[in-house]
């Protein structure tokens, strides 16, 4: 088990390095204005001087190596020049990460707490009215672009439910709309896949055998079907992590949450190259963490997936 996780982690780090390299190279193709708050007022000599100071005139490969070395040795992600003047990126991010993390985790929990029971109820009443309404809801959420229903939630949430529009960290009421908006795509996602896998499982022979044993439908649903349907659901966990990250970019600007998502939009608008680079790398890491968690969860739930990874290396 430890060996498996170690291997999995090592592979993830390689993936991450590749992502960093790609992002890094792409950022070098951006205009250099992104490194100067007052580019227009500077002479070409000043610009050359500054670039030399920042080490940006070195070959890309060397820059990348220095960047990675700084990440590992100093935990530094570079320095912001435009968004903040000469402030390390990590200092800018430090107060924002916990907030976004809280928001994301809360949204994931809400999604699980609503999505899983919804999927279970739909599977139990397959083909009945509850199932049809649920399917309608899922199709609607999956088909309509998130931006559209995010706006609807904002409009009707504030109009009808009288919930506050502006986010304030200390006011619990202001958390409701952003968290719910962030959870909504995942609610439909979990419900959709859980229903599908539960319906799949419930036609299997071992369910019939459980019936023959004398278990009631209800007990079979929870003791056998739900647990077995949950395993394939593990592979969708990474997607829900990404859903949350993507959602947060939009939601945080929508409700003025001073978190990472809002920040990314901000720094892209203001073209702060080092900030964009750092945040993109962080978000990519979240996606990779989602993948690892999903994989580990599946190995824990399904004894047929071997830890050693000899059969069917993933």
């Amino acid at each position: 088990m430890v060996k498996y996780i170690g291997k999995r982690l090592a592979r993830s780090i390689i993936t991450l390095v590749i992502i960093v390299s790609i992002v890094f190279v792409l950022m070098r193709k951006m205009p250099i204005t992104g490194y100067f708050p007052n580019y227009d007022h500077m002479s070409p000599e000043q610009i050359q001087n500054s670039l030399h100071q920042m080490g940006l005139d070195k070959p890309v490969a060397e820059q990348l190596f220095i960047f990675l070395k700084n990440v590992v040795t100093k935990g530094s992600l570079g320095i912001s020049y435009v968004y903040r003047n000469q402030v390390p990126v990590t200092d800018v991010l430090a107060p924002k990460i916990p907030l976004s993390l809280k928001l994301g985790v809360l949204a994931l929990l809400v999604a699980l707490m609503i999505g899983l029971p919804l999927g279970t109820i739909m599977a139990q009443h397959k083909g009945k009215i509850v199932d049809k309404i649920g399917t309608g809801f899922i199709v609607l959420i999956q088909a309509v672009p998130a931006a559209v229903y995010f706006l609807f939630i904002q409009i009707y949430g504030t109009e009808l439910l009288n919930l506050p529009l502006m986010f304030k960290e200390t006011d619990a009421k202001t958390w409701i709309l952003p968290v719910f908006s962030l959870a909504l795509p995942n609610i439909s996602y979990y419900a959709m896949w859980l229903r599908r896998y539960m319906v799949d499982e419930s036609t299997k022979d071992y369910v019939k055998l459980a019936k023959i044993k004398g278990f009631s439908e209800r007990k079979i649903m929870f003791k056998h079907v739900f647990r077995n349907a949950f395993v394939p659901l593990g592979q969708y966990l990474p997607t829900t992590f990404l859903n949350t990250v993507v959602g947060s970019i939009y939601i945080e600007s929508l409700y003025s949450v001073p978190g990472m998502g809002g920040l990314l939009v901000d720094v892209v608008k203001r073209q702060d190259n080092s900030m964009v680079q750092a945040i993109v790398i962080l978000f990519a890491s979240v996606g990779i963490i989602g993948l690892i968690v999903g994989d580990i969860m599946m190995t824990l739930l399904d004894p047929r997936i071997s830890f050693a990874g000899r059969k069917g290396a993933r």
Binding site: L209, K211, F215, H224, P303, R304
Partner: protein, 350 residues
């Protein structure tokens, strides 16, 4: 096994129908059958004749579009002696007192019958916990005992293993263990050896015979393998197109078959084929059960059919107290029709 034994399950004039795409399929057409305590009864017939459908009624697993249109199934095995009219059971809840503890079943494919994510110990223990309220150490010990009974060695180690760590034959042993864990009185075996290879088949049949004695089981065997029938059954019921056409003790039906369908079925045994001759096969196809069947259902495929076979359904004629067949050939007025020559030859050889 004599006729005066206690009846444990009685089927009276049972008719089962299915709603299929707006049409009604008449799957079981007026079956009468008594199952005696402690016997092993084999129900044979070709695919689609209704063997499985009949047995699903005994444990309440009929598909949702199927229903009993008339007739009764009565179970006499309850400990309090109260007869239970199974055909009147509507809700799942009523079946819970029958399934597992009174009537149990083994399915065809052991590879899919077990939950892949639970240890086999848990899966066997589950029903003991449910029906007998065993817990903890007592539960574990009971499971070890059952594992030993079905011939699984090192139960302590096997208990903790998952189904994918077992071979097909071993899995079928586990399935059997689950089925008998709560000491049911009737065990329905729905082609339990079809998915296994021949050497394992023999072992499983031996195991079932052994368990039948030790657990005092009544076994209903569904099969189309006549070799299995000869091996394990006391009595045979031959089914054709949703009806039982001939019943009797195994030796009676094998050595002195009376119904033309039984003749045809026995003639189709490849083991009994004569070298150099084509294998026998029954011409034509079974009747369409969506339509009303007139006369003897087998008549259109029977080269020796009498005129009356197409007109009127024959009643049962007794051949012996334990042997009866549903064919006009046994009517005293019928012309004397001999069974096919090769069957007689076979009998002489046996």
């Amino acid at each position: 096994m004599e006729q005066n034994q206690k009846v444990i399950l009685s089927v009276k004039d049972l008719n089962v129908k299915f709603n299929l795409r707006g049409k009604v399929l008449h799957a079981i057409r007026g079956i009468n059958l008594d199952v005696y305590q402690g016997e092993s009864l084999a129900i044979v017939g070709e695919s689609g004749c209704g063997k499985s459908v009949l047995n699903k009624n005994f444990i309440g697993l009929l598909d949702p579009n199927g229903f009993i249109s008339s007739g009764e199934i009565i179970y006499y095995g309850m400990d309090d002696g109260q007869p239970q009219v199974l055909s009147n059971y509507k809700k799942d809840k009523e079946w819970l007192k029958i399934r597992g503890s009174e009537v149990s079943m083994i399915m065809q494919d052991p590879m899919t019958s077990l939950n892949p994510l639970k240890t086999i110990g848990k899966q066997i223990g589950e029903s003991l916990e449910l029906h007998q309220g065993l817990k903890g150490k007592a539960l574990k010990e009971a499971v070890y005992g059952i594992l030993r009974d079905v011939g699984i060695e090192e139960p302590e180690r096997r208990y903790k293993q998952y189904p994918h760590e077992f071979s097909g034959g071993m899995r079928q042993r586990v399935v059997i263990a689950i089925a008998i864990a709560c000491r049911p009185k009737i065990l329905i075996c729905d082609e339990p050896t079809t998915a296994l290879d021949v050497t394992i088949q023999a072992q499983i049949l031996e195991l079932l015979k052994d368990l039948k004695e030790r657990y005092n089981l009544t076994i209903i065997f569904i099969t189309h393998d006549l070799g299995v029938v000869a091996n394990i059954a006391d009595r045979v019921a031959v089914m054709y197109a949703g009806d039982i056409v001939e019943t009797g003790m195994v030796r009676e039906v094998f050595y002195d078959p009376r119904h033309p369908y039984t003749w045809a079925l026995l003639s189709s045994l490849p083991q009994l084929g004569v070298k150099g001759q084509d294998l026998y096969s029954i011409k034509g196809t079974p009747p369409n059960l969506f339509n009303e069947i007139k006369g003897d259902a087998f008549a259109p495929r029977n080269p020796r059919a009498l005129a009356i076979d197409f007109e009127e359904q024959p009643p049962y004629f007794d051949v012996s107290p334990t042997h009866k067949a549903r064919t006009w050939l046994l009517d005293p007025r019928a012309p004397k029709v001999e069974p096919p020559e090769h069957l007689k030859q076979m009998r002489a050889e046996l």
